[in-house]
Symmetry: C2
Subunit: 502 residues, 2 copies
């Protein structure tokens, strides 16, 4: 059964419309009208979140785990509807939406397990030493939730980084109410997920204000959200420009709050000489596959490939051949397709074409260019992210130049080595440079495909993220929404239950 | 043997003077001239720190632990000299300087033990699952040092929060080089500690750039330090105004960096009815003792005492009696004594005197005032920190008003309950409010005296600190200078040594 959007916001359990609306722009399927949020709604949602926090912060881990699992179940129960409206709004294929739903519900269930386990509380106890001079008091430490959190849906992951994505899952797991600003590129998908969360709230008896969802196609809601005094942190995945603007608002508040933004990355890949010699064509094919997957609309898209000059022609030819097989793809929005073409055009003026293809409307074809390390190092703009299936091959004269290029990079989500046994020495020189540049360093794979795991880091030095100490994927993401509190000589009965009996 | 200051900066192992100087203003003892740092020195120190980082980030934990212990040993070897110049410059008594030195070397040795132990690395491993669809790669996570760190010496702890204090100790333990901006109120004390660190660097063969120390009596050095692109984080303890200005500079950088500032707190103490009835006079005496210790020059000074109206007169009388026994004390600087008088004068216009005393020059006498909850809630300025031995007693009509007052507080380093068995119900209502307001909640003690321990939090919601997730005291302080890095399918030989063989 097809999901017919209400076109309404969900504010603490109530579906609320409004006079101001915007129209969805799906790639195919029916168009709908959606209310567009305003400041008063943000105030209402924030007040409700604050009220809910007083209860939700003191729920047991088991209660929150059951709530997260109920959300996952409710999303699964709407599986086909989610896939249908998701594919219509985003142009992503069915299989991708199904996979992303599995990732989304998997994340929710993983966080349920993670908080049941309890290691994330990082409990510490220094017992009293009454005979020491001066006596040491009894000290116990635990991580407590920080308060209401604002989450911005991402355009490129309508499920896994949006309404019930990793930010929402980790904040709810921590004990923080969430207010989601839905992405206007997939409002119906956002809404049906909000409805699933609403159903889970009712089933598990959670306070209604623990979750609100606000549609919006202007900056008004986002600005009001991050500036609201009751909001204590922000989770965001999106563009450098938009993210930096919100970061600046968070920093300028009377009470500054952390902005956990995952912004931009070109995910450099280094092909080392022995690997280049042994399997240049296979690497070129692998790269093109990763680069063009779902029109290259990944934060971890490998937009920069660095290799030795020797063999670069053959590599480029192999890449061009692989690119010929890539069909035209539909991007998430008309605006993103246009930005992609603009970005590719800008790079095309500075670098030589390896494979160049025009496209129109919401469609995109891959564009790959090539330049030398000197030119790349000279022009900072060649290192800026172009969102979409664009790649830049940069040739290097020797190992020193490859390292010099690595040193010149900005912060990245990932850095990749394509290497064989004979490359160990150069790889050992690159590793200390790359571990400073990226949140994740990988060998002989491609950076797209971000495992949801304990050991994952999806983040990195600026501009990859605005908080180099944080990750937005994996269990460590919960840390963003916790703060340590120390209890000194507090009677057992007054301690948080998780600190008793230590 | 008396320490004769060189009056010079220590930049990566070299003592460097300069044309611009300032003169120390000790409370007693000889006056000295000190070079005052400029931007070129910051550049030089930062370049050296970056160079040193490439080596220091890859030292073993044992090497860094030995380095930290060598610093502690070198400070101890200069113990009497440190105490002599420290008492002269700060007017703090000998016993306090000796105790603070023990705290400082104790912190260094604690961090040595902490990194030897290795739990702080938070290593995580998700093994490869080659048969899963899609296959899971091998993922390993570890915490890595972030890069050069700037530390600002604090006026009120010339040793434990200054040149080799908790910020420096935790950053060096993490693997980060440190550049200290010395506090101009105790330049000689800062310099002799810098000399001790210098000696430890030479003894343990650490790279010279791992530590630099810059004197300065203007904002120029501080501004240049936090804006320098090679600096990756800042540790600061000081005033709200100065701290916020530096925070704003950090946030406005092209690449924003975290500013770990510990700024202001009035450390509210709540006397609950049963405790009030049982031991009002003893509580009043305890409070006065904590409030006036070392002229009240503690971040955790209990500047606000909230109690029931009933019995408030007797409490105020007991406090006034206890205050009579407090001698005039010398403050850290003339300017701080003047600010104290200004602040007390401001509060004195809004509240009734309990004990009021005038003072002159660098001297201070305690001032205690009293007001009602309505007035306190109405006038925000009554909740602002006055650094020095000033206390404000606020009376509350009933339990609800006490809770209302707690809710209205800004972020705090600490919150204290004075309670007896009969107070449990009210305490249980206050606890969830106070744990949101403060980094440390304590019962039946006083907040001065911050234990250096695993379970300590010295931090809290803004303005207590600019990062509610961090502490500047205790082993958890090391987290501020680490970032997680994930290694995917990286060959064993290329992994950080601490990640091998998992």
């Amino acid at each position: 059964m097809t999901y017919i959007p209400k076109g309404k916001h969900l504010i603490a359990g109530e579906w609320i419309g409004g006079d101001r609306t915007f129209r969805s722009a799906p790639a195919h399927g029916p168009v709908h009208d959606f209310a567009s949020g305003q400041v008063d709604l943000v105030n209402r949602a924030a007040d409700a979140a604050e009220q809910a926090f007083e209860i939700y912060a003191h729920t047991t881990r088991e209660e929150r785990a059951a709530f997260l699992e109920a959300i996952a179940d409710e999303i699964d129960a709407r599986g086909d509807q989610v896939t249908e409206i998701g594919t219509q709004e985003t142009a992503l294929p069915e299989g991708r939406l199904q996979g992303e739903r599995g990732r989304t519900t998997g994340q929710l269930r993983l966080f349920a397990q993670h908080i049941r386990d309890g290691a994330y509380l990082d409990r510490r106890h220094d017992g009293a030493l009454p005979d020491r001079q001066p006596p040491r008091p009894d000290l116990r430490l635990i991580q407590r939730p920080i308060g209401p959190v604002a989450v911005f849906g991402a355009s490129n992951f309508p499920l896994a980084f949006s309404t019930a994505g990793g930010d929402t899952a980790s904040a709810l797991a921590a004990g923080c109410p969430v207010i989601v600003k839905g992405h206007p590129a997939h409002p119906g998908t956002g809404e049906i997920i909000a409805e699933a969360i609403h159903a889970a709230i009712q089933k598990t008896g959670m306070p209604a204000g623990v979750f609100s969802f606000i549609h919006g196609d202007t900056h008004e809601v986002g600005k009001a959200l991050v500036e609201h005094p009751l909001i204590k942190a922000v989770g965001f995945t999106g563009s450098l420009r938009g993210g930096r603007a919100l970061f600046d608002l968070c920093a300028a508040r009377p009470e500054p709050i952390p902005f956990f933004g995952e912004l931009g990355s070109i995910n450099p890949c280094f092909v080392l000489p022995a690997a280049m010699q042994a399997r240049s064509a296979a690497i070129a094919e692998g790269w093109v596959g990763s680069l063009t997957l779902f029109a290259g609309q990944f934060c971890t898209n490998p937009g920069l490939l660095v290799l030795p000059e020797e063999g670069a022609d053959a590599f480029a030819e192999a890449a061009a051949r692989a690119l010929e097989a890539v069909a035209e793809q539909v991007m998430l929005t008309d605006g993103m397709a246009q930005s992609y073409r603009d970005g590719a055009g800008r790079v095309g003026k500075l670098a030589s074409p390896v494979a160049q293809a025009d496209s129109h409307g919401r469609n995109a074809r891959p564009n790959v260019y090539r330049t030398g390390a000197e030119d790349f190092l000279r022009d900072h703009t060649l290192g800026e992210e172009v969102f979409g299936p664009m790649g830049l091959i940069v040739t290097t004269r020797d190992a020193d130049q490859m390292i010099q290029l690595a040193r010149g990079l900005e912060g990245q989500l990932t850095a990749t080595l394509q290497m064989d046994d004979g490359d160990t020495e150069l790889a050992a020189r690159l590793m200390p440079v790359l571990e400073r540049k990226a949140g994740r360093v990988l060998a002989n794979g491609w950076p797209t495909g971000v495992e949801v795991a304990d050991a994952m880091v999806h983040g990195g030095p600026y501009p990859a993220s605005t908080n180099f100490g944080a990750t937005s994927v994996g269990t460590m993401a919960i840390r963003r929404f916790l703060r340590p509190v120390s209890y000194q000589n507090i009677p057992e009965a007054l301690l948080p239950p998780d600190l008793r009996g230590m």
